[in-house]
Amino acid sequence: MRRQLEGSRAVAETVARCRPQVVAAYPISPQTHIVEALAGLVASGALRPCEFLNVESEFAAMSVAIGATATGSRSYTATASQGLLFMAEAVYNASGLGLPIVMTIANRAIGAPINIWNDHSDSMSQRDSGWIQLYAESNQEAVDLHMQAFRLAEQVELPVMVCMDGFVLTHAVEPIDVPEQEAVDAFLPPYAPRQRLDPADPVTIGAMVGPDAFMEVRYLMHAKQRLALDLIPRIAGEFAATFGRDSGGLVRGYRLDDAETVVVALGSVLGSIEDLVDARRARGERLGALAIRCFRPAPLEQIRSALAGASRVVVVEKAFAVGAGGIVGQDVRLALHGTGVPVHDVIAGLGGRPVTAEALDPVITRAWTGELAELTFLDLRRDVAERELARLPGAIA
């Protein structure tokens, strides 16, 4: 049944219905409402058996999740921004150990300068951590992805980040269906690990591994991610058959048939992009959009196949590799290698600057006319930046 709910509340209720046995979290904006709601559900007895640990840091939150999962408990945490960076050492351990933790990232910029608003710099900073990364376009998809994430994580023995735009989604009140407990139980069986820490049947998890085997363990992480490329669409298909919603999967095309120009993006910005596609289609322009719903593992073949008919591609992304360019754009170029299709990176929305259809519209036009640079910063106040650059010691005026 659909209700008009805040995204954070809906995600908290969904996570509760996934029956985690351990929730460990440290509050940070804009994740706070999610873990506050979960703490309330545990305290009220609505979610049990579950232990909620209000730990002293994000590093502790992930460490608790690692320990709890290693003993066979389904574990969950959530964070954002600096919290994810503080957690980073343990983030890599979770994936290296193959522990199926699910973590919500309420996407937020990374300082300095300090900024609480939305972009994707936090989750993108953990791109190579070995975690699977899924991105939600709407709060409904955020709900649906969490259910799929536990299934996926436990089947492939890798942790999963469900990324949802901070404030833009976490604090938005929208019509959302949180599936009933029975339906979630039918979709998500209890966690049954292959092995776990048990004093009665001791094993070691997390032993030191030398040069003789380290490479194999790291390769296994990669191989499991590649296996997830098959598993993720299967789980999304089963989800669609059960709940009637097209959520999850690897990529989703929007009006791609005969599209000459395709805008690629991930997260909530896709709503405005799809509105723009409709507006320009109504004028007879062949524009389409491609949502990357699963960023890691990188669905390179699916991206290549979805973009097969495109003459040009514009990647709109809310993070960038400083000193290089786009991050998602690099993947898209890799996917399109050898096709000669030009790929334009548009870095947008850093630190919460709104990414609007109105601002993207002329960018699309410039792509069409061949005037769009390979790397663009949307709505950048160039005069401000250049004034500061001119003040550099030794700057050439």
């Binding site: 209700r3 008009q4 805040e6 609480i116 608003w117 709407s138 735009d165 404030f167 833009v168 989604l169 604090h171 938005a172 009140v173 929208e174 019509p175 909530s268 910005v269 896709l270 709503g271 405005s272 799809e274 509105d275 709104p354 990414v355 609007t356 259809a357 109105e358």
Partner: protein, 187 residues
């Protein structure tokens, strides 16, 4: 699609107003979205919140830059924030003011007659709710002026959110706002 922007100050219930309106529209069977534009998160600092209402699902999550309706909870903002930015040519303005439209000064808003309305929402809130929170009064007035939602849906949204005396006070405040605009329409 109807797009609304709420302007107020931290602590005035700006975000709550947008959320209540979205819930009321949902009760009306429509699609709705509400979200805040978080600023410095301080009491008294300028705050904006947004609401969209449509008969079709709403995909965009960008801030409302071209509102059809502006709700100004605090008239002192008129001199600090570009409140009217992007307002539609046939848009509506609801202003919380003890002095009618006077705080607007000489600013001639090129809007149709009757589309700019001022009411003493804080005074009405004090009378009916007992707290200086103009939000519910302005929501009631909004329902009467724009028919964006039904008054019954608004009061149902209030009753979902609050209980007891708080719910009753908010319902009374919303009803007072609705009657203020409705009564003027029939005067």
């Amino acid at each position: 699609m109807l797009q609304l922007r709420f302007h107020g100050r931290g602590g005035q219930g700006v975000v709550t107003s947008a959320e209540l309106l979205a819930v009321a529209a949902f009760i009306d069977g429509r699609h709705a979205q509400a979200f805040p534009s978080f600023g410095s998160e301080r009491m008294g600092a300028p705050v904006q919140a947004f609401c969209r209402i449509d008969d079709a699902p709403i995909r965009a999550h960008e801030p409302v830059s071209r509102p059809d309706v502006l709700v100004v909870q605090d008239p002192t903002l008129l001199h600090h924030v570009d409140v009217f930015a992007g307002l539609a040519a046939d848009g509506f303005v609801l202003l919380n003011s003890r002095h009618g439209a006077a705080p607007l000064g000489d600013a001639e808003l090129p809007l149709p007659t009757g589309h700019v309305r001022a009411l003493p929402a804080t005074d009405l809130a004090l009378e009916h709710l007992g707290r200086p929170l103009p939000g519910p009064v302005l929501l009631g007035a909004l329902a009467a002026l724009t028919h964006a939602v039904r008054l019954g849906s608004l009061t149902a949204a209030v009753e979902q959110r609050f209980i007891g005396a708080t719910a009753e006070g908010n319902v009374a405040a919303a009803t007072a706002g609705w009657e203020h605009i409705g009564a003027a329409a029939h005067a």
